[in-house]
């Protein structure tokens, strides 16, 4: 179910009313769990069955860790095997599928490609990380496992987050699930701006710009005068799309009395790759930092055999970003995208430009931003492209060999990208320079609501991050 669909509106209204009528915490949680499974199994009920089974497995694994600490290591490996096995199977099966079919054919077994296509269950990558975070925390001793299967199942399946995050941590969400929740008008006041901005960014910006960006990326051999504006368009589209999803997710959670984490903090204003990942998809990057980057770095530093300093410095960011790339999807483009950020972080660190680095002087800041923004846009080109060869051939094609059609469409794409990014820039400036209680904020939301109505359509496309 899509947050911007009519189905979801009716579903949420029903859940909202019943939930606040329930009053009693346990009853509220039962209702939310049922709603989450209905939400998740709406299209394919077997998704919900798989979610239920994997939730049960991790619940009992965590309980086992608490009861028999000596078996903790084995149980942790079991959880890793189950979670990563399922994720790997569904996510990467199709990538290796052609090779598998070839192998079967060479053995004389006829395999119909259509029959062996596997559909990735939506949200699998997100809830797998949530469950793994829980099991790893229990295994490290930093979290006591919850005894309530209901609370744990709801933590995993909480419907505002299940499809595309934010990837909430057990230490943040579980205590909220265990606490009494009473309706406050404050929830609505805080959720309303998120709802307006969520709908505005998805329906007005992301969906509109995607109609031209998607077409350019479907071309056989676009010229650089076409691919550069289209990549800028995608840069806007993916931010608007994913941050819209997060806003709507947070707003839905808030209306049910839950505080959930932010995922974006003006990422395109970053001056370095580390800063970018501290501002982009924050819940994923902090997950990767806490469960891959830090443990790997610690392991290298404490290694019995001395490890060279340059390996300690470069291996953790490289491995972490490669994992981030692979997590997004099976394909060389994702791997290259992740690898590019890993190399960038290593290179910036080698130059002494670490996390919170900021040069002195406005011109230097501007150039630092420009360089980083160019890397970000190049990264999105790799991320969105059909193949690496396609991306590089398009980018480095001779702009003077372009046709009039390519120049015209390139110009339209660039112009529409600038036009649709203007409302976000205005919002950023308002947030930065106007007091929070200024009437201009209310005016902005009122205009945004009117524009959403103008752009509203009975069919709206899925959010980009659903596919991951």
């Amino acid at each position: 179910m899509n947050f911007t669909s009519y189905d979801f509106l009716l579903f949420f209204l029903a859940v909202f009313v019943l939930y606040w009528l329930a009053r009693e915490r346990r009853l509220q949680n039962v209702l939310l769990l049922a709603a989450s499974y209905v939400f998740y199994g709406w299209v394919h009920p077997w998704y919900a069955l798989m979610l239920g089974l994997s939730t049960l497995a991790d619940y009992f694994i965590a309980q086992g860790m608490a009861k028999t600490p000596e078996r903790k290591r084995g149980l942790l490996w079991l959880s890793l095997l189950v979670n990563l096995g399922v994720l790997g199977f569904f996510k990467y099966y199709n990538f290796f599928n052609p090779a598998l079919i070839d192998a079967l054919n060479s053995l004389g077994v006829h395999a119909d490609p259509l029959l062996v296509q596997i559909v990735l269950p939506v949200g699998l990558s997100f809830y797998t990380l949530k469950k793994l975070g829980y099991v790893l925390d229990v295994s490290n001793g930093t979290l006591k496992p919850t005894h309530s299967l209901l609370d744990f199942a709801l933590y995993v399946s909480f419907f505002p987050q299940i499809v595309a995050g934010p990837i909430d941590r057990p230490r943040s969400l579980l205590p909220q699930l265990e606490a009494t929740r009473v309706w406050k008008m404050e929830y609505f006041h805080r959720a309303w701006p998120l709802l307006v901005m969520g709908f505005f960014k998805k329906i007005v910006i992301a969906n509109t710009i995607s109609s031209i960006v998607d077409r350019v990326f479907s071309l056989n051999a676009p010229n650089s005068v076409l691919i550069i504006p289209a990549t800028l368009g995608f840069t806007l589209q993916i931010l608007a799309d994913f941050s819209a999803y997060t806003d709507l997710s947070r707003a839905s959670a808030l209306l049910l009395g839950f505080e959930t984490p932010e995922n974006f903090k003006t990422p395109y204003l970053s001056l370095s790759p580390t800063e970018f990942w501290n501002r982009w998809h924050i819940t994923l990057s902090t997950w990767l930092r806490d469960y891959i980057f830090f443990p790997l770095r610690r392991a290298l530093m404490r290694s019995q055999r001395p490890v060279p300093e340059w390996v300690i410095q470069s291996a953790p960011p490289l491995v972490t970003m490669l994992v981030s790339g692979v997590w997004h999807g099976a394909g060389w483009t994702y791997l290259a995208w992740g690898g590019m950020y890993g190399l960038l972080i290593v290179a910036y660190q080698a130059l002494g430009l670490r996390g919170e680095w900021k040069p002195q002087g406005r011109m230097k800041v501007f150039f630092a931003w420009l360089v980083m923004f160019a890397f970000v846009v190049f990264g999105w080109l790799l991320f969105r492209s059909y193949s690496l060869t396609w991306a590089l051939q398009s980018l480095f094609s001779n702009p003077f060999a372009s046709t009039l059609e390519e120049r015209v469409v390139g110009l339209i794409t660039l112009s529409l990208t600038l036009f649709y990014s203007a409302p976000l820039v205005v919002k950023l400036l308002m947030d930065r320079y106007l007091p929070a209680d200024s009437y201009f904020h209310a005016l902005y939301y009122a205009i945004a609501t009117l524009v959403v109505i103008v752009f509203l359509n009975s069919t709206t496309s899925d959010f980009i991050y659903f596919q991951f």
Binding site: S218, L219, Y386, V409
Partner: protein, 284 residues
């Protein structure tokens, strides 16, 4: 005899070959991107309004297309609907647009004046950023810019898998969302009106289910499609309308297609032959 359909008819049937095989003058009205709303309008406003009415109308359709009044009526297809529509087309407004609105959209349309003009407002809002830069920098006006977009995104310029996906996405609208429920859909579609118009004007209506490669074998075809086609056939028989099904015709093989739905030269020859064989006894 008039043959009416979309691009699958344009590429799949040779009108001259059919004319010589049947000894009937055949006229082909193949409108790429058309669907039931366009066919209804073409019948009502062009075929029936012409001074020379055909004795037979052969309508070519794929799967559930006949009972999907909402298919290909918005976006770039709207211009085609607008071109064929008369001043007042209450049936088209009702079946293709109002009927498809969600309850919220209906309320908005009724009580919020801006909502009814949303397409125009959106076009106005986007006009300057879409066209002004190319007028000023490339001396290319709105017509030139629209032509550039259409030329650039022609199927020939797309990656084969993107072209295939575009086609599949267009076809996927024919399945799901209740489209397969013939009994529920038929009264919400143009089919009863098309049948009535033909019968009242003494035009013999023949419906042809065209072959495609969406479900290449009978085994791969979902059960609901078979059920839908059986219901359609019974419904047509009850109204004395001829129905010809070429979907799994063994004479038309997979090497006779350009893509999932369009036939190549060889396919056109074979399908036209098969069609003429089926039509000959009917037209005698």
């Amino acid at each position: 005899m008039v043959l009416l359909g979309d691009s699958t008819l344009r590429l799949g049937v040779d009108a001259d070959q059919l004319s010589s095989a049947l000894g009937h003058e055949t006229y082909k009205v193949a409108i790429p991107g058309s669907a039931s709303a366009i066919w209804y309008l073409a019948l009502k406003n062009i075929i029936l309004e012409s001074s020379y009415r055909p004795a037979t109308l052969v309508l070519f359709f794929r799967d559930t297309l006949l009972t999907r009044p909402d298919d290909r009526v918005t976006g770039r297809y709207f211009a085609l609907v607008d071109e064929l529509a008369g001043r007042h087309e209450p049936l088209v407004t009702q079946l293709s647009y109002v009927q498809q609105m969600s309850p919220i959209e209906k309320i908005m349309d009724q009580y919020f004046p801006m909502y009814g003009d949303k397409s125009m407002l959106k076009d106005k809002l986007e006009y300057a950023p879409r066209y002004e830069p190319s007028v000023r920098l490339l001396n290319c006006n709105q017509e030139c810019a629209d032509a550039a977009v259409n030329t650039l995104f022609e199927t020939a310029n797309l990656r084969p898998e993107s072209a295939h996906q575009t086609l599949i996405n267009a076809e996927i609208g024919l399945y799901g969302s209740g489209a397969e429920d013939f009994a529920h859909q038929v009264d919400r579609s143009y089919l009863p009106e098309i049948v009535r118009l033909c019968q009242e004007n003494s035009i013999r209506l023949i419906l042809v289910h065209t072959p495609t490669q969406v479900y290449p074998t009978r085994n791969s075809e979902p059960e609901f499609i078979r059920r839908y086609l059986a219901d359609l056939q019974s419904w047509l028989e009850a109204r004395d309308v001829t129905y010809l099904d070429f979907y799994h015709d063994p004479r038309i093989t997979s090497d006779m297609y350009l893509d999932a739905v369009h036939m190549n030269e060889r396919g056109r020859v074979v399908f036209t032959e098969a069609l003429s064989e089926a039509l000959r006894p009917i037209l005698k």
